[in-house]
């Protein structure tokens, strides 16, 4: 009798906590509203105007009569700001934005039954912590990718095994010091790269999650990065500038994205990339729907369209990312069958996906928040 009561309470508790989220969720789809407004990363929603071969919008517009309007955003913060202002239906949010949007109640739960292509989605991404909260899906995965260690193959005959080549002073295989020849990303989120390295290098710190650091762990990260400053001529922010740094500035090892590595390889430069034994950070983006979306039917149609293997493969080829739909990896002319592997498909388990560090955290109770990371990383670079 008692156990029944407990069970009843448990059921009540679960349903009541999920109910508000589910109540607003769409039950069925109606006709399209004629348009859909999307906030996206540059290159994420292409209609053929950049390159005729890369177009996953025109067919959608013809088939659904939903005109696609895109507003590109350059940073996660800009995306959050735009969604807070409203007037958009969808956003392609990275992990350092998606949970903020959920917490701010700016995005709505998604009814996956209305998205036939949901079954195509990589199972590893379907209920990832950056798109699913308490079992409720807030959007469909779009693309992901690792932050790789790019290196010069003339200097490294074998791929470097550890991130230490960019973090600690040492002689590289060509006998010269790494001083002035390595780079790191300029944004504070790059501090997580150092945290990932310290997880293996100094296990006594007990770092469980590179985005959840207590004061001591954080101090160790800052100390490592302060030492690294002497090795780094300039931190990279712009992908095109980093490509140039590899070509003309004698940079031989740096954290990077598959995008730059693909560009450099296409240019026949001796550059390759690897994910060292410590693992790596990465990003995973989710298409999320605004809580007050004016065009929900067109938005659902786009969500479904965005999970078509053809679309997924084309985006991955254009952006240098990994599709959220594994079926996209085969038979795509633009991506080619080797594309997924090149962009990091097999490395999912080695990746700690980007999240915004917050004051409250699971691993340590209280953690150092992102605003502090930001201030300290500026100070480190100024040293």
């Amino acid at each position: 009798m008692k156990s029944l009561k407990t069970a009843m309470i448990a059921i009540l508790a679960t349903t009541s906590s999920i109910a508000p989220a589910l109540a607003d969720m769409a039950k069925a789809l109606g006709a399209g509203e004629g348009q859909v407004d999307i906030v996206a990363w540059p290159g994420y929603v292409e209609n053929g105007s950049s390159d005729k071969a890369y177009d996953w919008v025109t067919d959608f517009e013809k088939a659904t009569s939903c005109k696609v309007n895109v507003k590109t955003a350059a940073s996660s913060d800009e995306m959050v700001t735009l969604m807070n202002q409203g007037g958009f239906d969808l956003v392609t949010a990275s992990g350092d934005a998606s949970l903020r949007l959920v917490a701010g109640k700016k995005v709505q739960a998604i009814n996956t039954d209305l998205i036939p292509n949901w079954k195509n989605v990589d199972e590893r991404l379907q209920s990832a912590p950056w798109n699913t909260v308490e079992g409720v899906h807030y959007g469909t995965p779009y693309q992901w990718g690792p932050n790789v260690l790019a290196y010069n193959t003339n200097v490294f005959k074998e791929a470097p095994k550890s991130w230490s080549v960019v973090f600690e002073e040492q002689n590289l295989p060509d006998g010269k010091s790494n001083k002035g020849r390595v780079q790191s990303y300029y944004g504070a989120i790059a501090m997580a790269d150092a945290a990932v390295y310290l997880m293996s290098k100094k296990p006594e710190l007990g770092i469980k999650n590179p985005y959840e650091l207590n004061k001591d762990q954080y101090a160790a990260v800052v100390a490592l990065l302060t030492g690294q400053r002497a090795l780094v001529g300039r931190y990279w922010g712009d992908a095109a500038v980093q490509v140039d740094d590899f070509k003309n500035e004698g940079v031989v090892a740096s954290s990077s994205w598959p995008y730059q590595v693909n560009l450099l390889q296409a240019d026949k430069k001796p550059i390759a990339s690897t994910i060292p034994v410590e693992g790596a950070t990465g990003w995973s983006d989710t298409t999320m729907m605004h809580v007050d979306a004016k065009h929900p039917n067109c938005a659902y149609m786009w969500l479904n369209h965005s999970l078509e293997p053809k679309v997924q493969g084309d985006v991955a080829a254009w952006f240098g990312s990994v599709p959220a739909v594994p079926a996209a990896c085969k038979g795509n002319a633009l991506l080619t069958d080797a594309g997924c592997e090149t962009n990091g498909f097999a490395n999912f388990d080695k990746i700690y996906f980007w999240r915004t560090p917050t004051g409250k955290c699971e691993a340590e109770g209280t953690c150092v928040p992102y605003s502090q990371w930001s201030k300290d990383y500026v100070a480190v670079q100024g040293k």
Binding site: D77, G180, A188, R234, K247, T358, Y370, S371, W373, K375
Partner: protein
């Protein structure tokens, strides 16, 4: 009987002025001063270090943060760079402006105007990226130096502590050179126009009274052209003070004020600190403009 509008305006001339001036005034007050006021207001808020959220309560703690070692260094660095760029611009611009104003005639004068103005016609970004290629470790300057067996010279310059670095484009020297190149026309033009306004009769009178050319320059021409120098320096100083693109592309990742504003506002959401940095830049320019006004710079524009 209803009055025609023209009669009304004729009787009350103030009304016509009000109607005509209202839209631009509204623009100035609401959009320009309004955003400045919002900025000022933001700088008196602070970010909660724990949650990363902005606390909407009056506090001076954000301004106190400006005196943290890292932030204070940013301000100092930017001021030093702006001053260095301004001084170098004056030294380079004055002889050019002097020749263009006093000696060049006809085709030569047209050539000078074109040569000074031409860089302003191409995109600012293109010029900066071009300079990155010139200054790169494997760029044009290094190539020339290697062929002249003068690589030791570049290595020597780069090994100077503080301003050196691993490559010209990764150092303060590089940032400085690009700034001087980009803003030089803004220095040349006001100096040239103030030199052109020095009456020839003054110079002749000076010579007639027995002054040597050097004395004439020191006592007649330079004092009269000085307001133009100050006017030009307003441009070079303020443009360097606020720029965030040049040091981002050519530099060593040590932030300047403009980049700090961009970083704190754009990536970390710390709008109060970004606003406080902006206020610093405004105060510096306020002081600079007051001094410039005393030196007569605005008469030269």
């Amino acid at each position: 009987m209803p009055q025609p509008l023209s009669t009304l305006f004729f009787r009350k001339p103030g009304l016509l002025t009000a109607v005509v001036m209202a839209p631009p005034l509204l623009w100035l007050v609401v959009v320009y001063l309004g955003s400045l006021a919002a900025l000022l207001l933001q700088s008196f808020y602070a970010l909660d270090d724990f949650s990363g959220l902005i606390i909407h309560e009056f506090t001076l703690s954000t301004y106190a943060h400006l005196f943290d070692e890292a932030n204070y260094q940013i301000i100092l660095r930017t001021l030093t760079m702006s001053a260095a760029v301004t001084v170098a611009s004056v030294i380079i611009a004055f002889p050019i402006a002097y020749y263009a104003a006093r000696f060049a005639t006809g085709k030569m004068k047209a050539f000078f105007y074109l040569a000074i103005m031409m860089p302003l016609w191409s995109s600012y970004l293109v010029k900066i990226y071009a300079w990155k290629l010139i200054l790169a470790k494997e760029g044009i300057i290094t190539w020339v130096a290697t062929n002249l067996h003068a690589q030791w010279l570049i290595d020597g310059i780069l090994s100077i502590p503080a301003i050196g670095g691993s490559s010209l484009s990764f150092s303060y020297i590089g940032t400085f050179l690009v700034f001087v190149y980009i803003w030089l026309p803004y220095m040349i033009l006001p100096i040239q126009s103030s030199l052109e306004r020095v009456p020839t009769s003054f110079i002749e009178a000076s010579a007639d009274l027995g002054a040597t050319p050097r004395q004439t320059f020191r006592n007649v021409i330079f004092p009269l052209a000085f307001p133009g120098v100050v006017a030009g320096s307003i441009f070079t100083f303020s443009l360097t003070l606020g720029d965030y693109i040049v040091p981002q592309i050519v530099g060593n990742s040590r932030l300047m004020i403009g980049q700090a504003v961009y970083t704190f506002q754009g990536t970390s959401g710390d709008i109060p600190l970004a606003a406080a940095f902006t206020v610093v830049a405004m105060i510096i320019m306020g002081i600079y403009l007051t001094l410039a006004k005393r030196l007569g710079a605005f008469d030269a524009l």
